[in-house]
């Protein structure tokens, strides 16, 4: 079976899953449904020739589900019934549908699926084995050609963790007594 057919199937599955995730009332089911969508994305990466990404996405999905369930499931396990504004929803759907229709013209100019424009990466593919000694070219790109990008990633991750700890800590800094 060609890759396209598999991808149609997986993408349709993901779209249905995400709509279900947004519309289910029970929040635990909702979080688990988004986990299913993420695992579908991992499968799609596997079909698109990106096994590293599939592994990372798999681990990300599990961690994300653990964080979200730990954070929210206990607080709102009951069925939630928030009222919604029907006119607002209709207006949003109409606007998004018009954006979708307009985007068809934009997507026509992109290179068609399966024929990418490879310019910079041509050199990576040809030279990476000799220049970096890495067998996996993605590793060569991350840790050698674009290492500052990775440094920035680590900085962002560190900042996010720091922010999480700062927000969640129980006690603030003790005020120094006036002497």
């Amino acid at each position: 079976m060609p890759v396209d057919i598999w991808l149609y199937f997986i993408l349709g599955f993901m779209i249905i899953g995400s709509i279900a995730c947004l519309e289910i009332k029970n929040i635990l089911s909702s979080i688990i449904t988004i986990g299913v969508v993420g695992l579908g994305l991992s499968l799609a990466f596997l079909f698109l020739g990106a096994p590293d990404l599939a592994l990372v996405q798999f681990v990300f999905e599990i961690l994300c589900m653990i964080i979200l369930i730990r954070a929210f499931a206990k607080r709102s396990i009951e069925v939630r019934a928030l009222r919604r504004d029907v006119p607002e929803t209709i207006i949003a759907i109409v606007i998004l549908a018009s954006i979708f229709v307009l985007s068809i013209f934009a997507f026509k100019d992109l290179p068609s699926f399966g024929k990418p424009i490879v310019r910079v990466a041509e050199r990576y593919l040809a030279q990476a084995g000799v220049e970096t000694g890495s067998q996996n070219i993605i590793t060569a790109v991350i840790l050698n050609y674009r290492v500052y990008d990775t440094l920035g990633e680590v900085t962002v991750l560190f900042t996010a963790i720091l922010g999480t700890f700062t927000i969640l800590r129980k006690t603030g800094r003790k005020k120094r007594h006036a002497e």
């Binding site: 988004i34 964080i67 910079v120 067998q135």
Partner: protein, 114 residues
């Protein structure tokens, strides 16, 4: 092109959730969906029909035109990890808001000024 359109539709589903839902948790999940679709779109752009994984093998000389584009994959690898940090940060903020206001409903969180 239909694949790109489906991917964009997934993004629009995420946008729909982020602008119409009143539940903070649903908004976090919707932003996660938008992230999924963007990652998938970048990797879709990189695919080459019938190409192999960009991993070199000793003794097996694969020409460069038979591998998928490694650059978007490297960028998406970065993006996925950052998404995890962002999700954790948003969850922490939502927990704090819940402790202060006893609700996840964004229309009832009105005391934000001053």
């Amino acid at each position: 092109m239909i694949l790109y359109l489906m991917c964009f539709f997934l993004f629009l589903v995420g946008v729909y959730g982020a602008i119409t839902k009143r539940d903070l948790i649903k908004i976090i999940l919707a932003i996660g969906i938008m992230g999924y679709s963007v990652n998938l779109f970048l990797v879709l752009l990189a695919y080459r029909t019938g190409a192999l994984v960009p991993i070199l093998k000793k003794g097996l000389d694969i020409p460069a035109s038979m591998m998928v584009d490694p650059l978007p994959q490297a960028i998406v690898l970065t993006s996925i990890v950052i998404e995890l940090g962002i999700t954790a940060l948003m969850a922490a903020l939502a927990i704090r808001i819940y402790q202060k206001y006893d609700t996840f409903d964004i229309t009832k969180i009105r005391r934000l000024q001053g």
